[in-house]
Amino acid sequence: MVRKMSIQRYLSKVYRNFVVRKVIRGIGIIFATSTLTFFIIRLMPSNPIEIFINQMMSAYGMSYQDAKALALALFTIDLDKPLHEQYIEYLVNLLQGNIGRSIAISPGTPVMEVVSTFLPWTLFSVSVSLLASFALGVTLGMIAAYRRGGIFDKVISAVAAVTSAIPGYLIGILIIVFIGVQFGLINYMRGAYSAGLKPGFTPEFIADVFLHLAAPFATYVLSTFGGWMLSMKASTLSVLGEDYVTVARAKGLPEGRIRTQYVGRNAILPLFTSLTISLGFIFGGSVLIENVFVYRGVGRLLWSSINARDYTVMQAVFLIITISVIVSNIIADLLYGLIDPRIRVGG
């Protein structure tokens, strides 16, 4: 009897080829980004380390030596050593997860600690919103394609075009203005959870978390579903014209099966390649949207650290956001390999 390939065999086959390549590429980009951050921090004309030292000296009357030592402790970069040695030390520290200590936001605290309290919130809100937006967009797009030219198509396409034109953070502001203020719900639109509420896996905390997620979630979804919808509509229309769909109908297959296995699965494939680009955009957008809603994510942390001139945290957040994008790209590529056999199994 015919046996489908088990998950294990699939994983081992793919490992040898496709994923490994993507991961290596990802590591390369992380490496390039860390290098970029290093040089920004070290070599730019008004680079943060020198500014910090000057600040310490003028504001606190520290000696140059003391200021330098403090800089070493905080930045994990020793200014006495030659540049290439500094670079290597920086990289080694990075690999160990040592990215210095916070200068201003929480002086002395390891940056890793600071970031790890903020990162989960961003991952949570972004992934939930992305999944919902994708699912919504794809479903609407397919319906619009099947009912091309009808009232549903015209209305939803217009809505999609308008909402994807407005910058997401402005939609967030509009939500606060028209719903938050008008209906007195503004409290649920600030923060990741109500102040004073003790975090934990209690039902009331979880409910509170989701209430606070509502507004940022709505903002993400409203600003991104349009793109998915229009892409899926175009893709579905193209697939509907393919021979294998005509043949499937001629064979008398039930329309439901055709819609999912013959049209849907093929139509969704091109969207996965644009998924990787959107991931970068949605993480980048979190910097803006989290500030609109004062949401406790890395986007807000980036803003705080920039305002407080906390360069160690700033550099780390930037790196973390980039790494998140790369990791999600790899996941998206893996998913794509799962759905499209032409990638997974050589021809």
């Binding site: 920004i40 910058p167 502001i173 803006l288 980036l302």
Partner: protein, 292 residues
């Protein structure tokens, strides 16, 4: 050596024909008119509606009226004049950034596609890195370290936005490279610069124009975002500044003050929509398969 007839032909294909088709599409026409309005606003606006700069605390947050069509802000200054005057900076930065993006992307994309080999690998490697790094956080970090003005802001936005377009141009060049008329040009030994500028680029022109317009919308997203977050020092009153001020001065909380934050948002949305509608209809013009 452009002959008069040649110029006329270019004019016809790139200006008259497209305009005719845009006039046929309602959305495209609306977008086109919208863009014209905004450009006029930016260029002529400040002369017609001078900026109201004197604070009049007694006129704080007035609702719209004949004297103040969009009401007043937290200092009693007229909002309408601020919107009209605010267009200049925003559109200027968008135009500069968009043009810079298109120039860099076209140059690098053509080189990568046409020359191939090492050039291609290097350019594509840089392209991939820039494409993966999320653009807005990088802009934020750079803005934090460098004091930006309109020019430098436009410059870094322009420099960071070229990867996507460059990739598309490269693949277009690659596919065109194989076509017969390029072989013919090569056989006639016409030289790389000539081949690229005279043979290849005119084919890409429609695509480049559409991307140019879309780059401008991206530039507006970025610059307004940066100003809103306070990462760019205010040089003058523009729409982003208005949003920032409205936000920090609590304009969102009062019914009467809501116009202060709503006006710039509507202005920005209006421009983005016009640009996108126009760009999409241009796409239909140059890609007739999509029509109908």
């Amino acid at each position: 050596m452009a002959s008069a007839r040649g110029l006329k032909r270019v004019f016809r294909t790139f200006v008259v024909e497209p305009l005719k088709i845009i006039a046929g599409s309602k959305a495209g026409l609306a977008g086109f008119i919208g863009l014209l309005l905004y450009i006029s606003m930016a260029v002529f606006g400040p002369y017609i509606v001078p900026l109201d700069t004197r604070p009049k605390p007694e006129k704080r947050y007035l609702p719209p009226s004949w004297e103040h069509p969009l009401g007043t802000d937290f200092e009693g200054k007229d909002i309408f004049s601020q919107i009209i005057n605010g267009a200049r900076d925003v559109l200027f930065v968008a135009f500069m950034a968009g043009t810079l993006t298109v120039l860099i992307a076209t140059l690098l994309g053509s080189i990568a596609g046409f020359k191939g080999g090492l050039w291609d690998s290097i350019i594509m490697a840089v392209d991939e890195v820039l494409l993966t790094i999320p653009q807005f956080p990088l802009l934020s970090v750079l803005a934090a370290l460098v004091r930006l003005n309109n020019f430098t802001l436009a410059a870094i936005i322009g420099v960071l936005s070229w990867p996507a377009l460059a990739r598309a141009i490269r693949s277009q060049v690659l596919s065109l490279k194989e076509r017969d008329f390029i072989e013919a040009a090569r056989a006639l030994d016409l030289g790389t610069r000539h081949i690229v500028t005279v043979e290849i680029l005119p084919n890409l022109m429609p695509y480049i124009v559409v991307s140019w317009i879309l780059s401008m919308t991206g530039a507006i997203y970025s610059q307004v975002g940066l100003v809103f977050l306070g990462f760019v020092p205010f040089t003058s009153h523009n729409w982003g500044v208005m949003i920032n001020m409205a936000w920090t001065w609590g304009a969102i909380y009062y019914k009467t003050s809501v116009w202060y934050i709503l006006s710039p948002i509507l202005a920005i949305t209006g421009f983005q929509l016009s640009a996108i509608l126009f760009a999409r209809s241009l796409e239909n013009v140059f890609n007739p398969r999509l029509r109908g």
